[in-house]
Symmetry: D2
Subunit: 341 residues, 4 copies
């Protein structure tokens, strides 16, 4: 069996296991005050060139989105997101559960457009009844998006400018951040990323960790008592070292980005294979997710040998399917895929 | 330095690290559908003699309490708990954040009393204005309690009977369940525990795991779509195997209870030492937490050599401090403590 | 000045004032147990031919929507509504504040379509990840809609059938119910309305009352302890008589429908006038709201003599404006409007 | 039958009915922008000597408490209240429904004590785990209290000083404010009341109005977009004039305080009668509620002629009952009560 279904179906990078074992007997305080977490934070600050950043480790992505968003909004505000945004689609209403509306904006290949955002917000404030409506209090985007696409630096700057104009913090969901920043089409240097937004998170779960995400408020701008809200949401590990050790490892010797690069180079090979095999692309992306159209009649047989993701119905006889590479995908996996397809 | 501050300040049992390494390369589906989770659930069902149990793995204790309680209550209901109950004191208002009141009952050594519970609930329904008040919708207790004490089988039966009479599910927080069930004073066989309540959780974090708790609905009585509510709360690991592998290991060859027994036997030695050293007990318990009274003047010096927990002010010149053993405490730790005190 | 801006800008029907005065000195219990509320409920049960109905009086429309919807949904469910539905647009996120998502469906003249609803819900359950998404737990529609349009009996039956098939209660927001049922285009007899849904509310505020709405669960199907949830939301008048007296008056001698008919007949005259004056209709409706297109250059002058509602920008030089009649609109008002336009 | 059960079992002051009738035909904008509301606000500002006050009219007391408290707290904060405070006892968990814990403080005759408050808050911040607990974010008291007692000016000043020291706004629930300020034992001039707190509400429902409460932020210190949060909670009347006309009437020619004085002088007569009849006082108060102890054997007979409130069980053969006067209580009512007891 070949596995291309998604990027979180195996364990973690061996280096992490090694570090967990090495540090296992070291007593350390809980709740993120352990030396591994402190070290990891320092490394992240350096990597992203934001020396004043407030950094927190949370247990998972949905949790992270809910805590960040609810802690930054006032009761009367909602969060603007692409209609394909993860918070509006596949998080079981976690944002609404905190009392806030997700305000959908049209998506273009999974991305929102700065001009459309501005038009939406300015129309909002121009409406005579705007105070009977949900205020756009912040903006959520994903990098890469749920469709594997990327914002350019200019696009992010334009969105951030609109956000600043209207007092809306910009939050970037980086569940797959490494795969975005290491894409050959990404024009954003790692050390310039943090200044393009007001808060972002570095995904661990999908980029080599067992679990955990790192929230970064780049300019020391965490909401007051963010720690207590993390606890209130149940997103705080008692053994904070679980995240500390993992992120410390990932941000040592550039491991996070090295393994991200692997996913990207394997995705390039994957695209070649899919083209050779004449699968029509529904969506060809610069990151680790590729979407092609397959005949329904072939799917059954294909599934016996390869695991992939079902994305959407295309038409009555075709389906959009997703192939994912990850930090763990090997040349051998691709070779075998080529033989199998 | 000697570490007796709490039971979650080191890593995890080496057997777990070993199993994480062994299984690391095995591809498995996410969200708890991995083979390790399925196997762990089967083992837990056998251990607790509840073959029909619904079992879910969540990322932490506060999270677990919030999900279980909010999913079992209707909007107009609250949860009854001892005034020392963890949900009412040290979870940053996580229960209230889900919209529900914690209804405090007097505590006796950390425990609630069945007769007082009955009296509270019957007085509630006898009140002419009860429908302007918060309905007692379920009961939360901890086993062991936050003070390290234990309910006897008869006490649990009595509480459960009151719960059943008034249609209130009984939820047992087992953050330290192993330390309770393995106490020499516990008169509840493991295989009879599940029938004494309507839902309980088996603590992993404080009993040898890196993270994770297992919620057990013993009679297949999970609320409908509990899975989606776990997701909604952000308590669902994408890599469900993280909990699966850990609990599968803990429930293989009785590991969970073996290491719990270690904490208990070490706690017995600890009590002996504290008595020899003539520390007055504030609270002598049958589990892994012991509370003694120390002179403030000595604390500073003691802290240089031993880490312990500050519990409460006793009087102007004394403080209640807590010593904890755990699955990892060794004979050598105790020997050195004896020499140090 | 002529007033056609909306249907809640004057006081209440004089008959209500009279009854408030007559009953003022009668001592009655609070919270809806007064004799006026009981009498009003009995009259509503008769009028709508639902002898077993549970009926509650709440203070306003947004409140009513929030209480009904949150009390009928489980945590993991959302409410389906037309994208123009009041709950999704002009209630400041009141539904999300209770933790539930509003799931938007395309609107056609303000209405949802049974086939589209079915297609949406069946696609939902067909999605492999449906338990990571928000369950469609109930359906909300307005009668008349926010655009003044009406569902036919067949349309309601079709929607209700889909709702029943998927276990989703159908809730009808009747903020302007009288204006809908008394429209000459309405093919639903009053006594058949209740059986077409699972819960509806009879709007008082916009149909002659000072305040208050009557929620009707036609088949005695109110959620358990609905009263306490009304109280919890702060929607319960201590002086329940305020609503009791008003609804008792409105449902005596057919007053509610008589005054509704006035709004409808005046709306017919209004349409005639608007047509004579050659205002292009943006939306010609069978109820009390009419939408026409006006030149921006004329608006300023018009506003000096007539109050109307601004609905939307039409194009750069035109605006959609709304004219409303109500139970209080007189022939004289229309005569003067004709002279003014 | 004689009515002393509570102060909201009749209609409203006739002057209000008269004003409702007089203004009924005047067209006015909705949502509180009507001329009556504007006039009422101006009069309240003058009466309470707070020219910069932000004032809002809401539909009822529970609603008001929920909106004020939730809009002034951050997610991690709770509200401190006497254990007998209305928000913690008889509002069906309305505060918790907004996500916030009510932090109970001991009560003394229904009041909290400044020193105990300070001790509670300072102990909170001294606790090493305070950020795992619910922050005391504001303080709620009632004036008069739920037991009819009053804070002295010095007591309020002391409480307010503690509040200011710890950054906790002080909110006074004035459901019966008139009865408090007009008590002969009250040492707070009306025009000095506002400076003693950060927000208060003037109760209408229990002091002569049909419904409605006026929230006052004395120093223009309303939370940003408070209006939208009122709407979000469903506490906003579309016909804002309902409150506007009522409060404008109540604050014309000192009506609010004149009718409050009536309740107080009648309560003085009531106390005399109860003493003559040798009812032991459970609680003798300076306001309109009096609590006496009655033999259970007499209650049945008494109830046939007089309505009163059941407060609490006193012992197996006695009950605490409450007698209330109000703005509408007459000399004749008391004469007849004297004859009846």
């Amino acid at each position: 069996m070949l596995y291309f279904e998604c990027d979180y179906n195996n364990g973690c990078h061996p280096e992490i296991l090694k570090k967990l074992a090495e540090t296992n007997d070291i007593y350390q305080p809980g709740y993120g005050y352990d030396c591994f977490s402190l070290s990891a934070k320092e490394k992240i600050r350096k990597t992203f060139a934001c020396p004043d950043a407030d950094i927190f480790f949370l247990c998972g992505g949905t949790q992270t989105n809910a805590v960040v968003i609810s802690s930054m909004l006032r009761d009367y505000q909602g969060v603007v997101a692409a209609e394909t945004g993860h918070i509006g689609t596949h998080e079981s209403g976690a944002i609404e559960y905190t009392g806030h509306k997700v305000l959908p904006l049209p998506q273009h290949d999974g991305k929102i457009d700065a001009a459309e955002l501005k038009s939406y917000v300015s129309a909002y404030y121009a409406d005579g009844n705007y105070d009977h409506m949900v205020f756009p209090g912040m903006v959520y985007i994903s990098f890469p998006t749920e469709l594997g696409t990327l914002y350019s630096k200019a696009e992010l700057q334009a969105i951030h400018a609109v956000c600043s104009e209207y007092g809306m913090p910009l939050f970037i969901d980086g569940a797959r951040l490494g795969y975005g920043l290491m894409s050959s089409e990404c024009d954003i240097p790692v050390e310039e990323f943090a200044e393009l937004c007001d808060v972002f998170y570095i995904g661990g779960t999908k980029v080599g960790a067992l679990c955990g995400e790192a929230v970064v408020f780049p300019r020391g701008n965490a909401p007051e008592h963010f720690f207590s809200m993390v606890k209130q949401h149940g997103a705080l590990f008692a053994k904070g070292r679980v995240c500390g050790v993992q992120f410390d490892t990932l941000f040592t010797d550039d491991l996070y980005f090295n393994i991200s690069r692997n996913a990207i180079s394997k995705a390039e090979s994957l695209k070649k294979i899919l083209k050779e095999k004449e699968y029509p692309f529904f969506f060809e992306t610069p990151t680790n997710q590729q979407f092609v159209i397959a005949e329904n009649s072939e799917l059954e047989k294909l599934r016996e040998k390869v695991s992939f993701g079902f994305w959407d119905k295309y038409d009555d006889s075709h389906t959009v399917i997703r192939f994912c590479t990850s930090w763990v995908t090997s040349d051998d996996d691709l070779l075998r895929l080529e033989e199998t397809l």
